[in-house]
Amino acid sequence: MNILRLHDLKKNYNGTYVLKGINLVIDEPQIIGYIGPNGAGKSTTIKILAGIIDSFEGEATVLGMDVRKDALQIKQSIGYIPEQAALYDVLTPLEYLRFTGRLYQLPDAVIEKKSWELLRLFELDEKANMRMTGFSKGMRQKVLLISGLMHNPDIIFLDEPLNGLDANAVILVKEILAQLKQAGKTLFYSSHIMDVVEKISDRIVIINKGETLADGTFETLKADAARGSLENIFTALTGDEQHQTTAGAFVDVLKS
């Protein structure tokens, strides 16, 4: 049984295809970096896999279950952590986690216990009873991470999970991801920059404009890029030369 399988996945929004036939098979627990520039179709892919979008073309299965038919069962065994820290911020972390935990059908006592312990580990226990309106983006992201993982899912989809986290939190989350993998979980991780992904991913999938451009380890991709086949997109994602020229121009304008 494949952990995850996409076959010729297409999605069109009002006549334009944002996904033009994605193929992907994951057979063993690993960390997959799903990389592409903004607007490449990363979030759409993840939303289809998480059962949030149910109208698409092609096939998508998670843990051997069809995303269209068994969405509820799939949702119970995956975790989804969206980008841009969207949560009901007038609630306190404890209230929010109780709310989402109940949506996952966890018993109240379990929710209560896990919330406290996880918040403590993220150093948010002192703020557990404070409304999140005053929280920084990093603090909200931590709460979202807890809410997406509390039901101990087998596959975890993360959409730009490190956005807005402070440097220490980034290190902590990376370590958590690594340990989750050792515990036999599959992590599907999207980002628009190569930076962090290259270090923790077992496998990197690059997509652009709804198509997969490359699929392999960081080393093989780098080798390919050197041979020229991937050069442009790779430069854009790792962002070296182009940024140097922009930065140079910026300083020049300041001088003028």
């Binding site: 998480a50 059962g51 949030i52 509820l72 069962q73 949702k75 119970q76 989804y80 969206p82 841009q84 969207a86 949560l87 009901y88 911020d89 007038v90 609630l91 209230e95 109780r98 709310f99 989402t100 109940r102 949506l103 996952y104 059908q105 966890l106 109240d108 006592a109 209560e112 216990k113 406290w116 226990d125 002192e126 703020k127 557990a128 009873n129 404070m130 409304r131 309106t133 005053g134 809410s147 997406g148």
Partner: protein
């Protein structure tokens, strides 16, 4: 308009320069702040109308101008000079203070200056003067909108001299309002945090909205109060109120009386506002600024004591009493918590709770005419039906309001979590609204009705409770279904709302008619109550099992 206002300020350029103020910086700051004023979202105004770059401030000023027409009419038609003047000055002080508290609070409580302007090479005199000029211009615009028409009316009816004097006393009243506002803010900031202060502002805004609605009902009626005006006289304690000083001072100008009392009051009316304003500038404003820079340092957490304690709050207990499944508990607690905290929900919904009492007054007492007679024959009527059903109508509005939230994007969680029966979330939320808002008002209505009609209406209220719950379920079941807090605010109402509203009215009318039957034939109660309860149960089941495809996005 701001260009025109700034031209006035330009007159003082020389004075500014002599004080070491950088003119171009001063105008840069003032102009920017005035642009911000125009774009700020004002209350008393539907948010949907404030979406783009229109000049919102101008519209707000127009509303105040419109209200001041009423005051002008009042001055013309109220025969008692002194009473009219008391009303006018009370109105100005009240409205000005309320405006400052509700709308200007963002400016007064603004701490962004500290981050944006202080790091730049602006000297403190320039910044201080820029703030003063901005606040004065803001006040000036509102003063004109509020006072111009009434003052002109005073001049027309009571002579130019009185009109000029009224211009001075209204300005003095504005000074008093400014002082009261600052004082109130200092008090709030002294004893609590910035977040608390902002919450207090929300309550003032709600009070303001209710006041507007009530004022709209009452001020036109005040014009016919000649009976009251004839009997009106000033007691010694009236002199404790600032509007009375202003009115008496004006009376002295109008009647050219100058006895001891009048002179004393004139001195009081002129000197006290000036003295208070001086105190404000000298002592209060600096400590206000100091306090503001203090609150900008991050608010500290206070609730350390609850750590690790699994505490059963009131809400958790309520949700376990009234709901059974995990999902409906989630819906119940979420709706309960967010409705109590979300500012825009509170501003939309809480004023309508205040209206309930106004409407009851209007319906039950036939527009307030001959209150005494209506009161005496009230106990022999069936008007308690208003008391039973009007609250339900009001609270049912909340069913629509809870579908909106500024954080609507957070509703992804409904779709990413394995939610089998979204209807349970809806039902939980509906029950939360019913318990939290409806029952509360219903109890108040019951208390009033028991006082008027006695114990014989108790069974009506019992039947009414079941009937109201049924109506509530019906209103919650027809139309498009949205999960709580999942819609973007300001999205347009879908078409067909009108037909839906008619349908709702008909259903509710039928149910109220049924109650009327119970009043006529008391035995019908024992037949109808079980029927109503059974209908409630059926509708609950129906809502609970609502499939995903019936949930609109």
């Amino acid at each position: 308009m701001e260009k025109w206002l700034l031209k006035i300020v330009h007159i003082f350029d020389g004075v500014f320069r002599r004080q070491g103020i950088d003119i171009s910086q001063l105008y840069a700051i003032v102009e920017t702040k005035m642009t911000l004023d125009k774009r700020r979202v004002y209350m008393n105004w539907r948010q949907s109308d404030q979406s783009d770059n229109k000049n919102h401030l101008l519209m707000v000023l127009a509303v105040y101008g419109f209200f001041s027409v009423f005051m002008g009419a009042m001055i013309f038609f109220l025969p008692s000079f002194i009473l009219a003047m008391i009303f006018l000055h009370a109105y100005i002080i009240f409205m000005m203070a309320m405006t400052l508290i509700t709308d200007f609070s963002t400016v007064l409580l603004d701490t962004t200056d500290n981050q944006i302007i202080l790091p730049k090479p602006v000297n403190s005199r320039t910044l201080f003067m820029a703030r003063q000029v901005h606040i004065l211009l803001y006040l000036f615009q509102f003063t004109i909108a509020m006072c111009l028409i009434p003052v002109v009316c005073v001049g027309l009816k009571y002579g130019i001299l009185t009109g000029l004097a009224a211009a001075i006393t209204t300005l003095l009243s504005v000074l008093l309002a400014v002082f009261f506002t600052y004082f109130l803010y200092l008090l709030v900031l002294r004893f609590s945090s910035e977040a608390r202060a902002k919450e207090a502002v929300t309550w003032f805004q709600i009070a303001m909205t209710v006041f507007f609605a009530v004022g709209y009902q009452i001020i036109p009626r005040m014009i016919n109060m000649s009976e009251f005006a004839d009997r009106f006289e000033l007691h010694w304690y009236s002199y404790l109120l600032p509007p009375v000083w202003m009115a008496v001072a004006l009376e002295s100008v109008y009647t050219l009386q100058a006895d001891f009392t009048h002179l004393l009051v004139i001195i009081l009316a002129v000197s006290l506002p000036l003295l208070l304003f001086w105190i404000l500038n000298k002592y209060l404003a600096p400590s206000f600024t100091a306090r503001l820079s203090a609150i900008n340092t991050e608010a500290r957490d206070v609730s350390k004591k609850n750590q690790g304690v699994v505490r059963k709050s009131l809400i958790t207990r309520l949700s376990s009493w009234f709901t059974r499944t995990n999902l409906s508990k989630a819906g119940f607690e979420m709706v309960w918590n967010i409705t109590g905290r979300d500012k825009s929900f509170k501003l939309q919904f809480y004023p309508s709770l205040g209206y309930v009492f106004v409407f009851i007054f209007i319906f039950v007492f036939n527009s307030g005419r001959n209150v005494g007679a209506s009161w005496n024959e009230l106990s022999s009527t069936t008007k308690f039906l208003w008391f039973i059903y009007l609250p339900m109508f009001t609270v049912a509005n909340a069913l629509l309001f809870i579908t909106y939230n500024e954080n609507f994007a957070a509703s992804w969680i409904y779709r990413s979590a394995p939610v089998k029966k979204p209807g349970e979330l809806l039902l939980g939320g509906l029950i939360a609204l019913f318990i939290k808002y409806f029952l509360f008002i219903y109890m108040a209505m019951l208390a009033i009705s028991l006082y008027i009609w006695g114990w014989k209406i108790l069974d009506d209220f019992l039947f009414g409770l079941a009937n109201d719950y049924l109506c509530f379920l019906i209103l919650g079941s027809i139309g498009k279904q949205y999960l709580p807090f999942s819609r973007q605010p300001n999205t347009r109402q879908q078409t067909g709302r009108f037909l839906l509203a008619i349908l709702q009215m008909m259903i509710v009318a039928a149910l109220v008619g049924m109650h009327y039957l119970v009043i006529k034939v008391p035995a019908a109660l024992y037949v109808l109550l079980p029927v109503v309860l059974a209908a409630c149960w059926l509708l609950q089941q129906n809502l609970r099992n609502l499939p995903w495809k019936k949930i609109a996005v």
